[in-house]
Symmetry: C2
Subunit: 301 residues, 2 copies
């Protein structure tokens, strides 16, 4: 098989999947896409993507299927549900699991797919919609070497950095989990710090400026605090994503019987925010759980 | 008074104070120094500093006295103890409080010094011994404008960045507190993340490399995890410093009646590390509280 004539499918055209699928088209790859949202299908088609009416048509001739779905339930639905595709894929097709899932889910899925003569790479992505759009995602991936060779053109098209964590499925998910542990704790800590600063009477803009240039800074502090300062909590990534991702971290702690007190504390803050009705807002809205302070308000337009 | 002919005193020649004092000497300022450790006094003298035998001699002619001490107790001792200097300083002398203390301590100290016709700037520093040695500290300071003018030559000599937070004493301490909240949580989170990664069977060096370039990164992750990888916990900054500094954060939470669950969780981890006998090790030794994993060992020499 020559990879240059391969056919690729991207299932799930949300903010991340759309960026990846369009990047594949832009790179000249034969790329099918599928999403239940007709608006997403129209946008992908306008970009030059192949957008058939059914999931089956979008994948039956594929050499590589990239799943860019929200969680493991959606992946199971797409692969094994009533209209699932796994049974109709050609032998040796590579499934790339681009979603953030637990390592144990990725491993179990790999076993199931192997029994069906399918191959798999777990490849959670990082970088947000902006990096997805420019084909510059960071990907933390693991799986057998030949599968990486066969997926090479797609990975080249959608990522700036491809970390090959190991030859064994599950490694990519484990690394992503550690990244999400830190990302989630750092967002919750940024919120707690800004909230205490406001309570102490400090000007939030000044605080952001100083901390961004000090030892207390983090990637998330620099990225999310501007949302708080603007008072605009329209989501880049939602509170409920960290309810899920820190949940995966804590599930791993239970599986390994390993204590994770800081992660657990941060998870409770995201749960509080979600319970208060902020689950679909930007994850920086976790600052709204701190009571008795006045946060910057959105400028009226 | 012409600031160019002023006399400066630095009290406390530990790793931070020594760097600041030597930087002042290198900048051509008339600089006295004092520490109870004779080795520190010898080193300062060799660098061209004025190193008299007593605290009183080191400060009685000073226009500006910089206190670089471990905590507020030491500051009280130096100023008001049995051999305290406050009563013998010239009127209008500026005391710079370079230690990390609570804002309420800084404010109370300012009132006490004002009654003695002395002035004060609270100016906690950041950047570590390396930046202190090169005269490139970051300083978060607050106090009256004329005091900043009078301290100008000293601030110029020891800092790369001087943030003037407010005209009211206590603002510098508040900003430093917020920085320490984040710094402490980020170290504890880095430890938790690396510990879980080891438990999950990931190679710690690879994990460090990937996370350093991902959204989970922080200034502290990049700075402290190499200590963990080297297995060398000789202190740059000690576990017990964060027992103190996160303690200041939590005291502020009590004073304001404000919840700080993430900070409290991180504080417990530093307390656990200190209780286990690691209080004088590098603060990255907080990872040693995670049980049942094998951390990288120091290379034998």
């Amino acid at each position: 098989m020559s990879t240059s004539t391969s056919t690729f499918s991207v299932i799930g055209l949300g903010s991340m999947g759309m960026g990846a699928a369009k990047s594949a088209v832009s790179a000249g790859l034969t790329t099918y896409g599928f999403d239940l949202n007709p608006e997403a299908m129209r946008s992908f088609k306008e970009h030059g993507g192949l957008a058939p009416a059914t999931l089956l048509e979008a994948t039956k001739g594929a050499d590589v299927v990239l799943l860019m779905l929200v969680n493991s339930n959606q992946c199971d639905q797409v692969l094994f549900g009533a209209h699932g595709i796994a049974a109709s894929l050609r032998p040796n097709t590579v499934i790339i699991l681009g979603s953030t899932t637990s390592a144990s889910y990725a491993k179990a899925l790999n076993e199931k797919l192997q029994e069906m003569n399918l191959r798999m790479i777990d490849a959670p992505v990082s970088g947000g919609a902006a990096k997805a759009n420019t084909g510059e995602l960071s990907i933390m991936a693991s799986g057998p070497e030949q599968a990486f060779v066969d997926c090479g053109p797609l990975f080249d098209a959608i990522s700036a950095k491809l970390y090959r964590v190991s030859d064994t499925v599950g490694g990519g998910a484990s690394v992503k989990m550690i990244n999400q542990l830190l990302a989630g704790v750092h967002i919750a800590a940024a919120a707690e710090a800004m909230a205490l600063g406001v309570k102490a009477g400090l000007a939030p803009e000044m605080l952001y400026e100083i901390i961004s240039n000090s030892a207390g800074s983090s990637w998330m502090f620099q990225n999310r605090v501007p949302k708080i300062l603007s008072g605009d909590y329209s989501p880049n990534s939602m509170v409920d994503i960290f309810v899920k991702d820190l949940g995966i971290v804590l599930d791993a702690g239970k599986e390994f019987k390993f204590p994770l007190p800081i992660s657990a504390s941060a998870h409770q803050q995201f749960l509080s925010a979600s319970a208060a009705g902020h689950g679909l807002e930007d994850d920086s809205a976790v600052i709204k759980v701190y009571p008795g302070i006045t946060l910057p308000e959105a400028k009226s337009k």
